[in-house]
């Protein structure tokens, strides 16, 4: 994954904050926690979240955080395949950057992302996958029912608590 410039912090909130404003008051929100990891070489992880309908069918990406600014011989999109499950489940079908989906990488902290307001009723599994340059990769699953999704799950290494409410 690419070296992250110090602009990460500045751009971190753009996608989340912008879409959060557009959210109806009653829509559910996913809270994703990126833990602080004490290593000599730390890079903010690439993170993607998507919903898989429990009955099968196409996955819907809710967000993907990657180095959207890096261009050139090794653009930030090069390492999207490190989110290997997301890539198989739907990432490779997306044209990036995608409005309301693409965002810059986030530094450790908690971030609120609204569930899409137009989500059809039904049972889903929310998946959140994180992959960190020179670090690990983790995927967290959380079964939910829409509307009224509620629940919490937690990663052990690359992700902290994932909460929907």
């Amino acid at each position: 994954m690419p070296r992250l410039a110090t602009t990460t912090g500045a751009t971190a909130l753009v996608a989340g904050a912008a879409s959060a404003l557009a959210v109806p008051a009653n829509a559910e929100t996913i809270r994703v926690t990126i833990p602080r990891i004490k290593v000599a070489e730390y890079h903010a992880p690439y993170v993607a979240a998507w919903l898989e309908p429990e009955t099968g069918g196409a996955a819907r990406t809710i967000f993907v955080w990657y180095d959207i600014k890096k261009k050139g011989a090794e653009p930030g999109t090069k390492w999207l395949t490190d989110l290997r499950t997301w890539w198989r489940k739907g990432g490779r079908r997306l044209k990036l950057p995608a409005d309301g989906v693409s965002g810059a990488t986030r530094t450790p902290g908690s971030y609120d992302i609204p569930l899409p307001a137009n989500l059809p009723k039904g049972a889903y599994v929310l998946k959140v996958e994180a992959a960190r340059e020179t670090g690990g990769r983790e995927i967290v699953s959380l079964p939910i029912t829409v509307p009224g999704a509620k629940g919490t799950a937690s990663g052990k290494t690359e992700l902290g608590a994932i909460t929907i409410r």
Binding site: A73, P75, T77, K78, W79, L80, T81, R84, T85, W87, R88, G91, R92, R93
Partner: protein, 285 residues
């Protein structure tokens, strides 16, 4: 130009005889012919992938001889030929780059065809095929075209093999698997660039374009030096031609299918041995 002529030309150009190439797939040899890409799954069309190729016992540990580069073909998703960049043949392995400038599934590999066997001439036994070019005085010819008139007791086996690997940019597609209808071929039900350790791989094998039962398929993960067993999985295709492989571990696999029948192209030959081999990555879930 038909594939035989093309093949002979390549073989001549590289100083290798048809027979010596055919021999590398002969069952007597435990050596495995393999190609490994530096990545199988790509995002975008601005990346260059490096390939290593060798012939060795252990996968993918180059400990025997380098793969001849002259025989390789690079096929782009649209069917056109790709370019080999920065090629080098070292002692134990060959290496080259390919700029993946098109979305879809690429194939890099080699298709080989040849004959081996024997015949009698004036009461003396001659061989067909074998390693290297026959020298003056050898009772050996390097191809069926060189079998003289008046030869008797002709016993010939055709060797037909395909060996390669797949790289996909974006969404895996199946144009690279369009059957030619000749020999042993692969029709993936699970795409080689879409394999994951907790889902079995399912592959249909065709012979001359039709589902082939009883094809022996062997899957071996690389890096044996870091474990105690070969970890080989052997399965056979059913009546529908399908082989199902449960992956014992994530990793880069060498998957080798073998079949034999009595339908060689050459009328004087009696047997046909076919091989279809590919390298594929099985990711951790």
């Amino acid at each position: 130009m038909n594939s035989r002529t093309l093949f002979s030309r390549l073989a001549l150009a590289s100083g290798l005889s048809l027979a010596s190439l055919a021999l590398t797939t002969s069952p007597a040899s435990a050596h495995r012919f393999w190609l490994v890409p530096s990545a199988t799954t790509l995002s975008g069309t601005d990346q260059t992938i490096s390939f290593d190729g060798a012939i060795s016992n252990d996968l993918f540990n180059p400990d025997h001889v380098a793969m001849p580069l002259e025989i390789l073909t690079i096929v782009k998703p649209d069917g056109s030929k790709g370019e080999m960049l920065n090629a080098a043949k070292a002692r134990h392995r060959s290496t080259f780059d390919v700029a993946i400038d098109q979305e879809g599934t690429w194939w890099v590999g080699v298709t080989r065809q040849g004959y081996f066997g024997s015949f009698k001439l004036n009461g003396e036994e001659w061989r067909v095929g074998g390693r290297g070019r026959p020298r003056p005085g050898d009772k050996r010819v390097d191809g069926v075209d060189a079998i003289p008139d008046g030869a008797s007791d002709i016993d010939l086996t055709e060797n037909l093999s395909t060996n390669g690997t797949f790289v996909t940019s974006g969404i895996p597609d199946t144009d690279a698997f369009t059957p030619t209808g000749k020999g042993l071929e692969l029709q993936p039900l699970t795409h080689p660039d879409d394999l994951v350790a907790n889902e079995p791989g399912r592959f249909r094998f065709l012979i001359d374009g039709k589902p082939a039962a009883g094809v022996k398929v062997t899957a071996v993960p690389g890096s044996k030096q870091y474990r105690s067993s070969e970890m080989v999985t052997t399965v056979e295709t059913g009546a529908d031609g399908i082989a199902t492989i449960a992956w014992p571990t994530p990793g880069m696999y060498w998957i080798d299918a073998k079949a034999e029948d009595a339908n060689p192209a050459e009328p004087r030959a009696t047997r046909r041995r076919m091989g279809y081999t590919f390298t594929a990555e099985v990711v951790a879930p």
